[in-house]
C-alpha cells in the first residue's frame, strides 16, 4: 500500500471497517506517523475546509511524476514526486483541488484525465506553512502536452453564479 493510500484509508471509515486487519493498521499508522513527521501531509487529504491555508500570492512549479490520484469528494488530490529545481532530490508533494464536479464542469477534467505514472509539470499555490503541498493551479502532461486547470479559488467561486 502506498503512503498516500494509507492516509486516505485512515481517513476513510469504509476502508477501516473492511479492508484493514489490526497488524496492517499498526504498520500503516507507523507509516502515517513517519509521513506526517516529514511534513508531507500538512493538511487532511479528504477533509472539507477553507482555502486560507494556501498562499495565492505565490506560484511554485515542480516537474515530476504522478504517484497517486485520489478522485474524492469534497476535494480531489494528486500526489506528485518531483523537484522545484532540476537535479534536486525529488520529494512527494500533495496537490489539492476543488471537488470532482467543479473540475469536470469548469476545468475539463475527467476521472482518468491524469493518471499515476504520468510525467507532469505542476503549478500550484503553496501552503503557507511551508509544507510540501498546495492548491493545484495547472498541470501539464509533458508527453502529450495536455493541460488541465484546477484553480480552487476561481472554480469554487463559480458556484455562486450557478446558484442564481
Amino acid at each position: 500500500m502506498t503512503l498516500a493510500a494509507t492516509v486516505f484509508r485512515l481517513n476513510n471509515p469504509f476502508f477501516l471497517n473492511h479492508e484493514m486487519n489490526p497488524m496492517k493498521t499498526i504498520t500503516n499508522l507507523f507509516k502515517l506517523a513517519l509521513f506526517i513527521a516529514i511534513g508531507v501531509v500538512p493538511f487532511a487529504v479528504n477533509a472539507h475546509h477553507s482555502t486560507t491555508m494556501f498562499d495565492r500570492t505565490q506560484v511554485v512549479t515542480i516537474t515530476g511524476v504522478v504517484k497517486e490520484v485520489q478522485w474524492t469528494n469534497p476535494h480531489v488530490a494528486i500526489f506528485v514526486s518531483g523537484a522545484v529545481k532540476e537535479g534536486d532530490e525529488p520529494s512527494l508533494w500533495l496537490m489539492e483541488m476543488t471537488s470532482p464536479g467543479n473540475l469536470i464542469r469548469v476545468g475539463g477534467w475527467s476521472r482518468t484525465a491524469v493518471k499515476a505514472g504520468d510525467k507532469v509539470v505542476v503549478e500550484f499555490f503553496p501552503l503557507r506553512n511551508g509544507g510540501k503541498g498546495g492548491a493545484l493551479k495547472k498541470i501539464t502532461e509533458t508527453q502529450t502536452g495536455k493541460v488541465y486547470t484546477a484553480d480552487i479559488f476561481a472554480q469554487e467561486n463559480a458556484n455562486l453564479e450557478q446558484s442564481k
Binding site: 498516500a4 486516505f8 479528504n46 472539507h48 477553507s50 486560507t52 485520489q70 469534497p74 464536479g101 450557478q162
Partner: protein, 157 residues
C-alpha cells in the same frame, strides 16, 4: 349616507382591534446551537459520511474503487444523507437564517443535493452518489464564500 358612516365606523373599529391583537407565538424550536456548532457537530459529519463512501484511487498498480459493500454500510450512508437533508432545514430556522435570499437558496440547494443522494442510495448507484456528493460540496462552498468569507480571514502579509 348613514350606511357609509356605519361601515366606516366598524372598519376603523376592526383596524383598531387588529392593532391590539397579539402576534402569533413563535414555534417552540430549540436553536441554541451556534452556527459553527451546527456545522461541526451535525452537517459536516453527515456530509463526511457521504463523501467518504464512494471514491476512486489511482496508483501505478491500478485503480481502487471505494464503495459500500454490506447492508450496514448502505444503512450508514443512507442515515448520513437523511441527516444532511433534514439538517439543511435547521439552517433555515428563524433566528439562524442570515436572510431570506441567497441563504435560503443555498440551504435548499443543499437539501436537494442530499435528497438526490438519498435517491441514488435507494438504487445503489455509486456514480450518482458520488456526483451528488460534488453537488453537496458546491452548495456548501457557495454559501461559505458568501457568508463565511474565509479568504478575508487569511493571514495578510
Amino acid at each position: 349616507m348613514k350606511k357609509k358612516t356605519f361601515i366606516l365606523f366598524f372598519s376603523l373599529l376592526a383596524l383598531l382591534g387588529c392593532e391590539k391583537s397579539e402576534p402569533p407565538p413563535k414555534p417552540p424550536f430549540n436553536a441554541s446551537l451556534t452556527l459553527p456548532q451546527l456545522m461541526d457537530w451535525v452537517l459536516d459529519p453527515a456530509a463526511d459520511g457521504i463523501w467518504d463512501a464512494v471514491a476512486w484511487i489511482s496508483t501505478t498498480k491500478g485503480e481502487k474503487v471505494i464503495a459500500p459493500h454490506t447492508e450496514a454500510q448502505w444503512d450508514a450512508l443512507r442515515n448520513s444523507a437523511a441527516t444532511l437533508m433534514e439538517a439543511s432545514n435547521l439552517l433555515m430556522l428563524e433566528g439562524r437564517a442570515k436572510d431570506n435570499g441567497p441563504w435560503m437558496t443555498y440551504s435548499r440547494r443543499l437539501s436537494k443535493a442530499a435528497e438526490k443522494t438519498l435517491n441514488a442510495i435507494a438504487t445503489k448507484d455509486t456514480q450518482a452518489i458520488f456526483d451528488a456528493g460534488s453537488e453537496i460540496d458546491s452548495a456548501c462552498e457557495a454559501c461559505h464564500i458568501q457568508y463565511a468569507k474565509f479568504d478575508q480571514k487569511a493571514p495578510q502579509k
